[in-house]
């Protein structure tokens, strides 16, 4: 396990709501990147970097932790990030996460999970890898199979109003289709791209979110990044930060998709 502690910035005590933090008892916000040795295809580190940056900008001390698949997953971190991957590594990652059990314990204790693409699929009950049906973690009531064609391109959708977020924008690259059960809600209604099935995109329940917006999805969705930080810290609202560049990027991407 490698950790990167950032302690620069204003003291965290500037935000007394810190006491409301549900999942962590340590002083820094702990963000775990799950299995970068298996699930890191294309810019997946970006979600870790974006969350770390946005927390530090609010003066929160942050600990960024990369846990390889040969290591035990810590059970008391605040946020868990799961990236995308090819079929073989995805199947191995699911097996190891099930055997490890740490992610289940963390979720039951109120930790936040944000998973993209292959990471999203393996949170469900089953998925297909290399033409074989594989057991998932059953942390989301979804299951995935193969679609008629690969979905590659810009992805956009209107987010579930209960989450209070602006439209999601991303890039998708997957061959799977995901079917939602009654135990979850779609993250968004598709306005561009394929997502789960051409109609809905992603899924969420409690503090667990999965999406087909792959790679550094949070770079284009600062409000979604802040939702994860709010869930993890209990600080709501978060102090605003300068989002000039992410907003310009979003405007450019979303203008092209409607």
């Amino acid at each position: 396990m490698s950790t990167d502690a950032f302690t620069s910035g204003a003291p965290f005590s500037a935000f007394p709501q810190r006491d409301a933090t549900p999942a962590s008892s340590s002083s820094a916000l702990r963000i775990v990147w799950v299995y970068p040795d298996l699930l890191s295809t294309y810019g997946d580190r970006g979600n870790l970097l974006v969350l770390g940056y946005r927390a530090r900008k609010r003066g929160m001390p942050v600990e960024l932790i990369e846990v390889r698949s040969t290591e035990a997953l810590p059970t008391t971190a605040d946020i868990y990030l799961i990236g995308g991957g090819e079929d073989g590594p995805q199947a191995v990652a699911a097996q190891r996460l099930i055997a490890d059990g740490g992610l289940h314990r963390a979720v039951s204790q109120g930790s936040v999970v944000f998973a993209v693409c292959a990471g999203y699929q393996l949170l469900g009950s089953s998925f297909i890898a290399k033409d074989t049906k594989c057991a998932g973690l059953e942390l989301l009531d979804v299951h995935s199979d193969r679609g008629p064609s690969r979905a590659v391109g810009e992805l956009a959708g209107d987010v579930d109003p209960r989450l209070g977020l602006p439209p999601v924008s991303g890039f998708e690259d997957h061959g799977g289709r995901t079917h939602l059960g009654p135990g979850v809600s779609p993250l968004a209604r598709i306005t561009r791209g394929v997502g789960n099935d051409g109609v809905t995109e992603g899924a969420w329940r409690g503090k667990v979110i999965g999406t087909y917006a792959h790679g550094p999805a949070l770079a284009r969705n600062p409000a979604l990044a802040d939702l994860l930080l709010r869930w993890a810290t209990g600080i709501d609202p978060l102090p605003p930060i300068d989002d000039t560049w992410p907003e310009r990027l979003r405007a450019e991407r979303l203008a092209g998709v409607r």
């Binding site: 294309y42 580190r45 590659v152 550094p216």
Partner: protein, 406 residues
């Protein structure tokens, strides 16, 4: 050569010349395309009777091809696709234009290697490296390694020159009867954390790597970069003076010397030739514009960005990013690159996807300034050096603005 092939070859040459005259490009693609339409076997016919080396890999193909062509040139005229047109159309065009040369050194797109090896019956193939590149359109790197491995199994006669520092390359070539290994270093490790043979973890220490779960490990290299030179298989060290910057180009030079040696060229003869290679299809080209000394560096993927940071001088630096088809439509790779080596200098950003880059640099805590165009960048920086690092189509756009500098 059959009559049909002669006609096809002639049409190919004429079309290329017309394309150049019309300033539509280098002409290497259109000429080859027309030639192959007339004779689908044209590449095979044009290859017959030539001793050919193919150079493939994710990064360094164009430069290594230029260096290897210079080195093999010791023995006689060499046909080469030196403009980076690395598909069969480009190979066809290069061979047709060159006429009857005894030698050819061809850069080959890594996806096309099996096809081109089959068509050209090359004597030598050099495998440089494999890393993630434009994932939304390219095949996964492990699958590419598998295709190389299968292609080699069908051609046991070909001599292989391969990078001992890249586990994916080693796995692709390890079962081949004749492999000459070179060591050029590998800065980018994110695509080889897991063993391609068994899925075990790859460990690294100093310049060695090994799988913790199976026997795959770094083979001993016969050609090795050492200080500012290259050690050959006899253990002799040759000082290598290049016009090209960075340690990565010393590695490319070592590869070129190893390739040339397969044609009987001794390093002592080849080394002086390498110094004659200046810029390569605009890469590393230096241009003076309005008092600014502008140098162009091409960086197409995470591994090549790391190499570019190693080459740039401590000077104002323009980063230009597009995401058109040849670049890959997905800019996610920006987060696989650590831009922090650029902190402390004036950094400018431009290109069609400048906003993606802007967000990345902000998260990376690298201060920057956005400029609308390349021309604006030139006037924004003080008189003196301007380093430019651009991805593929952004690079070509800037090169066009600088009058197709070579």
């Amino acid at each position: 050569m059959p009559l049909r092939a002669k006609v096809a070859s002639s049409v190919s040459r004429t079309a290329a010349a017309l394309s150049r005259a019309a300033k539509r490009g280098d002409g290497s693609v259109i000429g080859g395309w027309l030639g192959l339409k007339i004779d689908p076997d044209l590449l095979r016919h044009l290859s017959a009777g030539r001793a050919i080396a193919l150079i493939t890999g994710t990064n360094g193909k164009t430069t290594t091809t230029r260096l290897a062509a210079a080195a093999v040139g010791v023995k006689g005229p060499v046909a080469t696709n030196s403009f980076g047109a690395n598909l069969p159309t480009g190979h066809t065009s290069a061979l047709a234009n060159a006429g009857n040369t005894p030698y050819a050194v061809l850069e080959v797109d890594e996806h096309y290697l099996p096809r081109v090896l089959e068509a050209t019956r090359a004597r030598v193939v050099a495998f440089l490296n494999l890393s993630r590149d434009q994932l939304d359109r390219a095949q996964e790197v492990a699958m590419l390694a598998q295709r190389w491995r299968s292609a080699l199994a069908e051609h046991p006669e070909v001599r292989v020159v391969a990078n001992a520092d890249d586990p994916l390359v080693v796995w692709a070539a390890i079962n081949h009867p004749t492999v000459v290994w070179f060591s050029a270093g590998q800065r980018w490790h994110d695509d080889s954390m897991v063993c391609p043979e068994c899925g075990g973890s790859i460990e690294r220490a100093d310049d060695q790597w090994w799988c913790t779960a199976c026997p795959l490990r770094r083979p001993e290299a016969q050609w090795v970069v050492e200080d500012d030179g290259v050690v050959d298989p006899d253990g002799s060290w040759h000082k290598v003076v290049l016009q090209l910057p960075g340690r990565i180009n010393l590695g490319n030079a070592a590869t070129a010397l190893a390739v040339a040696a397969q044609f009987g060229v001794r390093p002592i003869e080849a080394v002086p030739r390498l110094a004659g290679v200046t810029s390569v299809a605009g890469r590393y080209a230096q241009v003076v514009r309005d008092g600014r000394v502008i140098r162009l560096l091409l960086a197409k993927n995470p591994a090549s960005w790391l190499e570019a940071f190693d080459m740039v001088e401590e000077a104002p630096t323009l980063l230009a990013i597009n995401a058109r088809d040849p670049d890959g439509l997905d800019t996610s790779w920006l987060y696989d690159v650590d831009f922090s080596p650029l902190r402390g200098r004036l950094v400018l950003v431009t290109g069609e996807r400048a906003y993606d880059l802007a967000v990345r640099l902000e998260v990376n805590e690298v201060p920057f300034q956005h400029v609308p165009t390349f021309a604006a960048a030139v006037t924004t920086v003080p008189v003196g050096r301007l380093e430019v690092i651009a991805n593929y189509t952004a690079f070509q756009d800037i090169r066009a603005e600088l009058d197709r500098v070579n």
